[in-house]
Symmetry: D3
Subunit: 227 residues, 6 copies
């Protein structure tokens, strides 16, 4: 359950170097390395293609049509953080624009993940400030009802604890618990190392059917080839 009206100032952030490694591996590989859990819903899309980042979560719970807590959150940002914002009700207003982006960047933020709308996307794109959101909307918001900062929250279907590692790229957004960051980076790197070899074989025309030894289980499952 969410506690409202709270700002937690001291959070335990995941290991920085693990976050750096996860950034280079990308969402799909990290998600696989985690056993296919922790992914946000696929409606979360980047406002421009090509960004690939990782960082530690500063979480923000917003009220619909009200971005007050994003201003409160700015003060809690440390270098290498990603702000993760959810709303107590589905809402596509534009909670965030270029002024907040300027402030977030000055505080060290690497990007924003928000289960709501954003605006000024042309300027954000020119600034190279990456945002993953549910919508783009020019509609501004008021500043009158409290939410919270740095509480555990659900963003786009995924549970996020303050300090968790967030990895985001064109495939979406995945959450890596702080305690598992290093281990996940190792597993993802191992997976990745393994892929180069597979890719070369497949490019040479070897079939996955053979490379993954699927023919027998397929036959067992009853697959029939007909002409």
């Amino acid at each position: 359950m969410y506690e409202l009206g709270i700002v937690k100032r001291h959070i335990t952030r995941a290991d920085r170097s693990a976050a750096e490694r996860l950034a280079t591996l990308g969402v799909a590989t990290v998600h696989e390395a985690m056993g296919r859990v922790g992914l946000m819903k696929p409606y979360m899309r980047p406002i421009y293609p090509g960004a690939q980042i990782a960082g530690t979560a500063v979480t923000v719970l917003l009220q619909p049509g009200d971005n007050w807590m994003l201003h409160v959150a700015a003060e809690q940002i440390r270098d290498g953080d990603i702000v993760v914002a959810a709303c107590t009700a589905d809402n596509e207003d534009g909670f965030f624009g270029d002024l907040l982006a300027t402030s977030f960047r000055a505080r060290g933020a690497r990007g924003l993940v928000i289960d709501a709308g954003v605006r000024d996307v042309k300027v954000l794109t020119e600034m190279g400030f990456p945002v993953w959101s549910k919508a783009v909307s020019a509609k501004g918001t008021v500043k009158s009802t409290l939410g919270s900062v740095n509480i555990p929250l659900v963003c786009a279907g995924a549970l996020v604890q303050p300090g968790d590692v967030i990895v985001a790229d064109d495939d979406g957004v995945v959450v890596v618990p702080a305690a598992l960051a290093a281990k996940t980076a190792d597993a993802a790197a191992a997976r990745e190392a393994n892929e180069g070899d597979k890719r070369a074989k497949l490019a040479a025309g070897v079939l996955g059917l053979d490379m993954y030894k699927m023919r027998e289980p397929l036959e067992k499952a009853g697959l029939k080839y007909i002409d």
Copy 2:
């Protein structure tokens, strides 16, 4: 209530110079300057990023699967207009393509806003003819049932009067009533002028909490900081 089978030939267009100024200010700023009203729903998206235009509305009411009235509307276009098309029922067919765009441009249109589908988006992109739409669909339409041209209509949730200023960019589409165009341009420009200073402060690390003097109202609202 819509009157069907009507083409209004003489409409009062908003002041041209106000429209020009609004184009440079963009949707989010104009929407704020209007007091946060007049915005179309955020499902209206540009077919390519980067276009930012303003112009006076020629309105078109379409029937589902029928683009006859777009041809009728072409004749009513004057230089600097934006065609705004709505449909009597939700429909995502491709009502508009490169031939109509060629005709609209020859008549002086700056773009199209349509609460339905468009097609030939690759060619429209190459032509640089901007369109904001609900969908992209190759499905063509018939020409057999009357709608109307230059009547007041509801497009993507916003009321549009013929002659109103339409401002459209990557953040969406906003409608400025003709009578308010100059005043809104003034207010938006004042807002914009004010933003440069704010941006500089935020970039230097000043917090919005301090710049906007939010600490006291937040405390009054009961915000608690914990460690």
Copy 3:
């Protein structure tokens, strides 16, 4: 009705040269030439803009959250094919990524059309391997339940027979039955030839109202011009 657990090895592919011609004509023109049938639903979108392809369909029926049959399908791909994948239930998991794309390309595939999700879209974009999908999702899939390969299936609302020509571009995806490929290419080419002249007239300011002789039928339908 779908038969599950079947791979059909020999299918009759549409004439290669017809497919080549259809590729150059594009989806909207081909769809018109077919009498406005055969189009997939407009939620099928390219993962990057600008690709325009045609090829013969290798069809794949998938189970939700399970991409086993894509591996089976790889073996059935011949040069010039496009893989068309549907799922027995709505599902947006990422069934396809860069490894499968490497394999499909090595087998001669020109692209993928999938009524589900894909991942690794950044790499797929760099590879220039075009995909039309319903969603982008990093979520991986298991390999445990049988579907079928090269059976007739419904993809995004359109019926696809193995061997049919698939045409895909920024406007969407259209299916041309193998037996109609040559005839449709002729009709589409005739349509296209005709468009240059129309475009020139419209660009010169001639109205569609006059060029298409619409004034009389509009008057007959009761259209009234008012001032």
Copy 4:
């Protein structure tokens, strides 16, 4: 464009007897009699089946997550009114429940039409207080930002002027401009009178093809019967 922070106390309500007649005719017939315009989008659904009402509109513009203006609107309700509420942004919170319904009913309201969410639907059903809404949600709302009462607004895609007749039943909600209420009631009643005869013929097995003399136009349009 919406003006915010306004309550209009004196509005011109449509003729009461016309509203009574429209109530008995139902939405589909009234909508036909209006020439198929004025209908709200089909996502507006009754919270329980079977209610069929008409009344004069008291309009309310709400802010997302904020139901303050519904309390303001209560004072403006006169006997025979229907409250029509829209929101400045898509929002499915539960803006209305049994306490407000008790108040609205005490003031003479016949029902509520709201392009947002409602709650306490079990009690509302027991009370027999009909509501047409976009969603059902238990989520409550704050009271802190101004909207307006009795301004023209767009509700679920339809333009509503204060005082217009609202007709609502299981088929949806239609808006009849006050000035057209009597005329529309006449036209709808004539339509209805005509239907009894048609129904009897169709029940006896006469085909619409013959009753509406469609065979010739179908043949002309090119319809082919094959065996």
Copy 5:
């Protein structure tokens, strides 16, 4: 691919007695008996709860906003048929109401399955004429563009051949190919016979884990019980 402007008069209907048996078994059981294929998408909902029918398909392809072909289809209905209607583009208009229902019933139809909207649902409910649809909408339709009757078509994602058995109840709609009707009825009945015994055991507290012997495969898959 759809052929437009065609009415096929003679179709081969599935065996009547098989349809009768399938009606008593219900959609979920029939769908299982078919190997989990042939189901329409779950957005197809009954306009009132409790109806459970089966019948032979008369298919109708409609154009958006145009119900002309439903009138044409009426003549092709034989006793025991269910009309199955699809549209060439997504459209939620009210294509069907109580007059058409009166006509369809007089011709022997048992119900309607339509991938679009219907109206007069209160009267249809009183008549006990069951309809499964995508939407309810009072919006009427024109009669001006040809579709087809009794061609194979895709309805809500399922392929329907004229004469196939359609089974519909509160769980949705499933299509049984005519040639498989008897065999499917046998398989479904066998399944059903088997269920009474299972139900009794489960009601007595026997666990599915034991009844279906799942403990071993679960352990093999790696399931761990912790305290």
Copy 6:
């Protein structure tokens, strides 16, 4: 992050008597008493109207198209539990039907909350076994991939811990953390007690404007009454 392949046998259930009291208070009142947090998304709808229950959560994480873990969960049900099921990806298959309901009821379950589809809804309604779901679908599921039972999970946007109290009625579903159940029941009961008096006043025509003393804050916010 979810751990897969786990069944937790011993969970701490919330106090039974608190759950009983919460059941009588209903979702909207409980949600208010919690400070407006803990609500599932409004797409979660009851399969039949009128049920109002509360119980302790047994949680189940499912894989798309696979209901194996519901069978595993049955064994963990104790009298007074409500099963809460989520899926690792959006999926509307029918994971649950009358056989599982028979088993769940025999184990003491009061109902099911599932962020996916269910089937056999007619029988479930006859049984009076209440279900809140995202969809109704006849599509069956396989039993081949592990999820987990009694882990913390996100269901329809809300975080659920095993043992939490779930309250569900026609307004939706709310989650009350086990530790707060008694306190929340007290607060909700106090709220409820207070409502009778308010209801009587409102029914007598007293305005909320006066009863809640809103006139001054509205004036302060700038509300203007015009004629």
